[in-house]
Amino acid sequence: MKVSVDDAVCVGHGRCYAVAPEVFGADDNGHCVVHRAVVDGVLADKARLAARNCPEEAITAAD
């Protein structure tokens, strides 16, 4: 599964790296940085959970 974030939409809520720290991290401003752009199994579930927890819908996690 591919994971990406739309930098123009992310405002740095930080929910993604809280729920899926294996997949996402934070830059100095607290905005999302994708650590793993391709994931499967448990990490794919976590990436999807992170996408559902983003109030801005900035994350795409799709096959």
Binding site: A18, P55, E56
Partner: protein
């Protein structure tokens, strides 16, 4: 059309706002009369609140707030795209990486504060914990004298909760203006002092900060300070009040935290959602827009009700209930869109540590029997929260 819009008061029922939130969402656009020239429209469903917060080009923050300030507060009342240049300067100082360095200090201070009342059987939680913890941390971070905390908190209260009859807009404006003048005067002096003698505090960073290759002007620094003193000294206090008022009257959930402190990060989010300390936030319409058949004109006021968005069953399953194991929780307690709360990472850290240390040392507590727990409207604090600390043997 506007004659058919229900008149509502999103500032009512702060003690138990959930039924009021439900009614607001049914409107779904309400109208509130503040005695202002232009109407205030009340937006309350999750999707609508998100739409307003996200679309800053339609819903401006610039003129939406008038709380004794002479100029727009930075960055809260600056609209995009200009807004971004200030956030670029400020965000790193309050980003998760930077605030994580404060974890040990916060933990130590939390324990020092608890040491002060661990042997008592009753405390006023607000005065003895919810105020000193975040306010001390904030003053340390910004670089203001801790011994003047009472003065700063007094100013903040006079601005946010002026002591007037509810609805007396003129009396409130007068108090806010007087207090605002004191804030500008005080910070004018502090800024001059930091320009001459920079320290390693946040205020010194801002005084010497640059946007677009130039130094900030003194007015810009003042406009940052005005916002900081209000935002930094109120919301975490109110959130702690909300959390502990809730947990003190829900012993099973309190016990769940004691049994498994690993649940605390989820508790932080779920109670932010369910309790939503900042209930309402204002915007001003800057372009014509229609919502649910209601035509909003430039200059109209909009109040987004974060609390009703956060308890909207269209967005959250069992929205009215607290579930620490809730998986999907994209709450808007810190707002959303470009103005997402600048201090949210700092706030989350303080809230987590406060919950961890308090429950480690005081596993059992309850609200004093017969005490009425009363929340202030708008930003829900409980100024008088008498907690009975029980199970003396288990305290440490």
């Amino acid at each position: 059309m506007s004659d058919q819009i229900p008149t509502v008061n999103p500032f009512g029922q702060a003690d138990d706002p959930i039924p009021m939130y439900r009614e607001l969402r049914e409107c779904p656009i309400g109208r509130m009369d503040f005695g202002q020239k232009r109407p205030s429209f009340v937006v309350s469903r999750y999707a609508d609140v998100r739409y307003v917060l996200k679309n800053a080009e339609i819903f401006s923050s610039c003129e939406a707030i008038d709380i004794g300030n002479d100029r727009p507060m930075i960055p809260l009342q600056i609209d995009p795209p200009e807004h971004a240049k200030y956030r670029r300067l400020m965000d790193p100082y309050l980003g998760p990486r930077e605030v994580a360095k404060l974890e040990d200090d916060i933990r130590k201070l939390t324990n020092q504060i608890i040491d002060g009342f661990i042997d008592k059987d009753q405390i006023n939680f607000h005065e003895e914990f919810a105020v000193p913890l975040p306010c001390t941390m904030f003053l340390r971070l910004v670089g203001l004298p801790i011994e003047d905390m009472e003065m700063f908190v007094g100013w903040k209260d006079d601005i946010i909760r002026p002591d007037v009859e509810w609805g007396d807009v003129e009396a409130a404006a007068e108090i806010r203006e007087k207090t605002g003048a004191k804030i500008y005067d005080y910070f004018g002096g502090v800024i001059d002092e930091r320009l001459a003698n920079p320290g390693d505090d946040l205020l010194s960073e801002f005084v010497h900060g640059e946007v677009e290759g130039r130094s900030l002007t003194k007015e810009e620094i003042l406009d940052i300070c005005y916002l900081f003193i209000l935002a930094g000294l109120d919301t975490v206090t109110a959130t702690l009040d909300c959390y502990f008022a809730y947990l003190a009257s829900h012993p099973e959930q309190r016990q769940a935290i004691v049994d498994d402190p690993g649940v605390i990060p989820a508790v932080v989010e779920e109670l932010l959602r369910h309790e939503t300390p900042v209930q309402v936030f204002p915007r001003t319409v800057s372009r014509e827009v229609t919502m649910h058949g209601v035509d909003l004109e430039p200059g109209d006021h909009v109040l987004v009700v974060l609390g009703s968005a956060n308890t909207d069953p269209e967005e959250f399953e069992d929205a009215d209930e607290v579930h620490f194991d809730r998986q999907d929780n994209r709450h808007l307690a810190f707002g959303g869109g470009p103005h997402r709360c600048l201090g949210s990472h700092f706030a989350r850290l303080e809230l987590r540590i406060a919950l961890e240390e308090f429950h480690k040392r005081i596993p059992e507590y309850s609200v004093l029997a017969g005490a009425g727990v009363s929340f202030s409207p708008g930003i829900r604090e409980v100024a008088d929260l008498p907690l009975i600390l029980t199970a003396e043997g288990a305290r440490q």
